[in-house]
């Protein structure tokens, strides 16, 4: 932290100087007069420092404009347009700023966490005190997107094709994929890219955590046509009706989700329940976990999926 405090002060003084300059400030003027730059050890050190600061200010929403003197093209100057950086008038109610405070705490361990906190600070500057109201006690914690997110979002915005190395889930091997990126979505604690896979000539989804290394841009901006889609990915499917034979006093959580549905196909000593699922494979995962407490009566595909798991698990003890 020791070296960060002076950096913050230098950045602040640079902002103030560049917003107050009549026309523009050249690098030489900045180095000679702005607090924090005067002690740069060399030209190179100053250049590095200034370039980094400029990028950082842009990322913070403070656009540093480059102005060239018409008479001397080498003579570059800079300024910040206050009109450009001003937040449009907005009035949040205490309840709204309360919900935004809640939103700013959603992200764990990713750049989203710092981004949303900083955004909230900007909004709090123009707001009255927050009132959590009906959102009191509610707390959502979601893992923020993986490193590739920012590059992919920018590529979607620019409608440009990307290429990246992807680890296939089925084999674990990696290969280069070329994709026209369409959308990003969060589901079940994971982040996904949906797009058109050029080599496979079809729509595919990619888990961001399986993208290895950098996302590179290939092709030209503006060339990607993104199909309209109002629905959330992936498409909702028709729910499947499931019938289960549950041992007495067992699997109470499953019983609570379904309803008793006695039928002729029941098993003696067990109670029959009916429930619906949107995802059979996932339900199979859960049902296998219940062991002998639950027997799947219907549908046969679900029963097969559970039996596959149980047979595999039965070999784990070493006695097969």
């Amino acid at each position: 932290m020791a070296d960060r405090v002076p950096a913050a002060e230098r950045l602040l003084d640079l902002v103030i100087a560049l917003t107050h300059t009549r026309h523009r400030m050249t690098k030489a003027e900045i180095r000679a007069s702005v607090n924090g730059y005067t002690d740069a050890a060399s030209d190179e050190a100053f250049d590095r420092m200034f370039e980094r600061d400029k990028d950082q200010l842009r990322a913070l929403g403070l656009p540093v404009v480059t102005l060239t003197d018409s008479a001397h093209e080498d003579d570059v100057g800079y300024r910040i347009d206050t009109a450009e950086y001003e937040l449009p008038p907005v009035e949040f109610t205490p309840a709204e700023i309360g919900v935004l405070s809640l939103a700013a705490q959603v992200w764990q361990d990713s750049s989203f966490a710092a981004d949303s906190r900083r955004g909230l600070t900007k909004l709090r500057a123009v707001s009255d005190a927050a009132d959590p109201g009906r959102f009191a006690g509610l707390s959502l914690r979601v893992r923020g997107p993986d490193a590739a997110f920012a590059d992919l979002l920018e590529a979607i915005e620019d409608r440009i094709t990307v290429r990246f190395t992807y680890r296939a889930a089925s084999t674990g091997s990696t290969e280069a994929r070329t994709v026209q990126p369409w959308r990003l979505f969060a589901k079940d604690r994971g982040w996904y890219l949906v797009g058109y896979d050029m080599a496979r000539e079809g729509k595919r989804q990619f888990r961001l955590s399986r993208i290895v290394g950098r996302v590179r841009r290939v092709g030209r901006p503006g060339e990607v046509q993104i199909p309209e889609s109002s629905q959330t990915e992936p498409a909702e499917s028709e729910p499947t009706v499931v019938r289960l034979a549950v041992a007495p006093e067992r699997a109470s959580a499953l019983r609570a989700r379904g309803e008793p549905a006695p039928g002729e196909d029941g098993i003696d000593g067990r109670e029959t329940y009916r429930l619906e699922t949107a995802d059979t494979e996932r339900l199979a995962e859960e049902l296998a976990g219940y062991g002998d407490a639950v027997v799947v009566l219907d549908p046969p595909e679900l029963r097969a999926a559970v039996l596959r798991r149980l047979r595999a698990a039965a070999t784990l003890g070493g006695e097969g």
Partner: protein, 338 residues
């Protein structure tokens, strides 16, 4: 929490904007408003006080009332034109809007008027910065069920009204219990919902998964205050006291296990297999996990844990055999992702 230089610049500029509109605010109130410590507010004020336009003579500097400052009150007397509020950067807008959308897919919040109006105003204020957020979607959890949605409504109301709850709960080990709980917090990781509360039976803070609550009613008594309870913001349980260290050797399709669970180590092995070390609090939880993904589990250590899982699987197969239902056709699993 580490604060970058950029974050601090934004915080200092936000202070000028806020103090310019609110003269004479006590330091504590400013700290509370921005959710930072009073020490940090005072540190930022000290920095602002010596900042200004080049030359840095008294007239060039941002200024505060020194008399007020001595009384722990902040009054900005010279903003040097830096009082304009900062617009949102694209990343900030996307992060906040996506967070609001994550809240919106919560059962019962889809049409919440405060959430909706906050989203509309934020989108409007962010302007172009909000545009790229349109390419980001958030899906709600599957299979949440009506019951979880009902529980959510009941728990939220009980937290707001400070009412004690009575619940019938089934643990991961399939044991049902009745408990009185003072609700403190609702947590979600985007997949499961957890009620954090003071449990009278355990005489301690406990987490309850909403999808395991069988019945939920108000207990008919006000909730007691629990000022000594420090709420964790984390949906993962504390693993420091986990009694079992289990190693799973997994085939590649189960890579999501390393991504979704708090594994203490991941080791890549040949043929795209890999091993994860898990700190396990509750063997019932591990049994559920391993049985569910058994086709991709190649080995479990230690051996007695593996044997326990295999025994459970054999008992289940026996139940299917006894019912004459163990001859279901082998079908292919669905095509994998990507």
């Amino acid at each position: 929490m580490a604060q970058s230089a950029g974050d601090r610049v934004v915080q200092m500029l936000a202070l000028i904007t806020y103090l310019d509109a609110h003269p004479g605010v006590p330091v504590e109130q400013v700290a509370e408003h921005f959710g930072i410590s009073t020490g940090r507010v005072l540190q930022d004020v000290s920095t602002l006080w010596v900042s200004g336009t080049p030359g840095y003579l008294p007239d060039d500097l941002i200024d505060f009332s020194a008399d007020d400052r001595e009384r722990n009150i902040l009054t900005l007397t010279q903003a040097r034109g830096m009082n304009r509020p900062l617009r949102l950067g694209a990343q900030e807008a996307v992060a906040l809007l996506t967070a609001l959308r994550s809240l919106q897919v919560t059962p019962g919040l889809a049409t919440d008027p405060v959430l909706t109006s906050a989203m509309d105003k934020l989108t409007e204020a962010a302007g172009a910065a909000a545009r790229s957020a349109q390419a980001v979607q958030v899906a709600g959890p599957d299979d949440t069920g009506e019951q979880v949605a009902e529980h959510l409504t009941t728990v939220r109301a009980a937290i707001a009204d400070q009412q004690r709850l009575h619940l019938r709960y089934v643990s991961a080990a399939d044991v049902v219990s009745e408990r009185d709980v003072d609700p403190l917090q609702l947590l979600t990781d985007g997949t499961r919902w957890l009620l954090v509360g003071w449990c009278y039976r355990a005489q301690d803070v406990r987490q309850f998964r909403l999808d395991r609550i069988l019945e939920l009613t108000e207990a008919g008594a006000p909730a007691a205050a629990h000022p000594d309870v420090a709420l964790s913001a984390d949906t993962e349980p504390e693993l420091t006291e986990a009694p079992w260290q289990v190693r799973l050797v997994l085939a590649s399709p189960a890579r999501w296990v390393a991504e979704q669970y708090p594994v203490t180590a991941v080791q890549d092995l040949e043929d795209a297999r890999f091993a994860v070390d898990l700190a396990v609090l509750d063997l019932a939880w591990l049994h559920h996990l391993v049985l569910g993904i058994a086709e991709d589990v190649l080995a479990v250590e230690p051996a007695d844990v593996a044997t326990g899982i295999a025994d459970r699987a054999r008992a289940a197969l026996e139940a299917y055999r006894a019912a004459g239902l163990d001859d279901a056709d082998e079908t292919d699993p669905p095509p994998p992702l990507g």
